[in-house]
Amino acid sequence: MEDKNYRDEFEFFLKESADELRMVPSRKTWYSIYNNLHPDRKWPSMAVCLLILTAVLYVGIANNNSISSAARKATSQNFTTTTIDKKTTSITNNYTTSTEQTSPEKTTFLSMANNDGHPVTNSDVELNNTALLNNTSLVMNDKTTAIISNINTIVRDNMILGDAKAAAKIENAQLLKTKGETTVTISTFNADDEDGIAAADKESGEVKTGDKKLENKLLPVENSAFKIALLNIEKSWKEDYAFRNKPALNKFKENASLSYYITPSLGYRSFKRKGEKQYTGSSLVIARGNNDEVLLIDDAALNLEAGAVLQYSVSKSIRLKMGLQANYTNYLSHVTALGHPSQTSLSVANRGTVVRSSSYSTKAGNDRINKTTMQVSLPIGADVKIAGKRNLKWYAGATLQPTYVLSGSAFVLSADEKYYISETPLLRKMNLNTGIETYLSFKSSNSVTLSVGPQFRYQLLSTYKNDYNYSEKAYNIGVKVGITTSF
């Protein structure tokens, strides 16, 4: 750079004038710089998002779990599902099947059905080297299902169905057709199958398939002692069905319940200068000056909490609870909006006094500013039953709520207390809240419990970081409404 004394007065004049100008950048610029310099600081918010996602997944799974867990459990004792995709045989997870379509006289130990009602054909089924299969249910592609129940050994050798050039060797086979579905039931049966599987009625000896070639080859065989044994096994299993389907006792599910709730409330704050002993602000007047003049005037505003907690009864009258809660906090300050931003200063403990611009005077006027935060918290606590029997009960409870502040609008006082300055970075990210509540719960006939009652929530740490020369604690009073469902 050229080291020059200004070449003429005009240049000096320009230089002097230009250097006099100061412009206060918006805070957004600093946030962008900060985020760029400290990308790792985004992890807390990402962790919270992950936590929320996990909780939502858990709630979803817990609610879908009740459909047929008992039936599945019983079935799983007797059935294993095998999925056959063309020439591949693999075993998958439990699969619920039913043998109700088969009458006792026409006991099925191997049935093959095409779900869309069409006979099983070459294209549907091709089994190679499938040794069948004790207590096994087969699912073939999407359409074809083979069910085998309660038979010890069905086919000992290789079985090939629907292979044009292979012989299907099936012992004790019976072909039936029920309700539009093609069912192949094995009794005693031998066939050389070139074109596919057909259905045949053993009683009438009639083959029920459109495939004439196959009809000629599928011949019913007399009942054997083996089939009678099958009938007995099937019968005993059916008689035992209720026992087999009895759900296992699950202590956790008996004692646990899931509660969803929402709490509209009115939010306030208490406020003090650091060094002062007492918080002020139980009324609208939040702070007074030295001559008792009113400095700050606040007003309540609508807050909202919503969440879900898992409740677990440890005794008849005490239950523990833990969950996830979203909070929106809000209160109003009466201010005077300035025509144009004014330069002022902010006193911060570790940085001294810094220059800021402000658009609001603290002098109470017709304008209002909302001081809001969005938070997520993890309420952990307990409820105690105070009174009540059967369907109507009265509870009292308390929670401790570690809280993460996701976002917010913070208006802090300038050093001379004449202005409000928008200074979001001073918001404390991690906070701790506590809630106490009492409520009546009414259990309806469909095992859903409604609960309603007042709640008080108080913030234990200041809204702002310790750098700020003031301490503010928010609190709100509201009505909690919730529903509780058991698992």
Binding site: E2, M23, N36
Partner: protein
């Protein structure tokens, strides 16, 4: 927080120290960016980019000369780089057409003289404005300006001469300076305003 503390903290990637440094120098640096930029938003973008460079390259500062001067050089170079991405600096405007730029003079706010002067500078065509800023206010030589803007040194000189004439004309029209007197004493003229 003293400058040494800020420097030490910033070198340790301490967020509070970085913010303190930013708070101290950003108002002046934004006014530098504002003189080069088309709008305040563009100026803030330049400022943001410049401060990220400052924080990431602060270890290169060797305490030779004032920190503000070092910061200012980075900011100016950032502004030039941003402008170079968007516009050719060979842009020239004939003085014949200079009056066309006067049509917006009513937009100049009458808040204070410094602001008025800066707004007048910002009214100049981009090439004029950039060269004038670099030469008259930032103190770069025409050779340095030529290297920075990828133009001939002579082009920088001619741009500056034209810019200066145009700016004087604007300032006189706005009664910010008195043409009959400015060659002798601007301060005296300013006192009248």
């Amino acid at each position: 927080m003293t400058e040494e503390q800020m420097l030490a903290g910033t070198l340790k990637n301490n967020a509070a120290a970085q913010e303190a440094l930013y708070d101290r120098y950003s108002p002046r640096m934004l006014s530098v960016c504002y003189r080069f930029a088309k709008s305040r938003e563009d100026a803030e973008d330049m400022l943001q980019e410049g401060f990220i460079k400052i924080f990431t390259q602060l270890h290169q500062y060797r305490n030779e000369g004032a920190l503000e001067g070092w910061i200012r050089r980075i900011i100016v170079h950032t502004c030039i780089n941003v402008l170079k991405k968007n516009k050719k600096f060979s842009e020239t405007v004939d003085l014949i057409h200079a009056h066309a730029f006067h049509t917006n003079e009513e937009l100049i706010p009458s808040i204070m003289q410094a602001k008025q002067v800066v707004e007048c500078i910002r009214m100049l065509p981009l090439g004029y404005k950039t060269v004038l800023n670099l030469y008259a206010i930032e103190g770069y030589s025409h050779k340095e300006i030529g290297n920075m803007l990828d133009i001939e040194e002579s082009t920088s000189r001619s741009q500056y001469t034209r810019a200066k004439v145009m700016l004087e004309d604007i300032l006189v029209r706005k009664n910010i300076i008195d043409k009959s007197q400015y060659k002798n004493n601007y301060a005296k003229t300013n006192a009248k305003i």
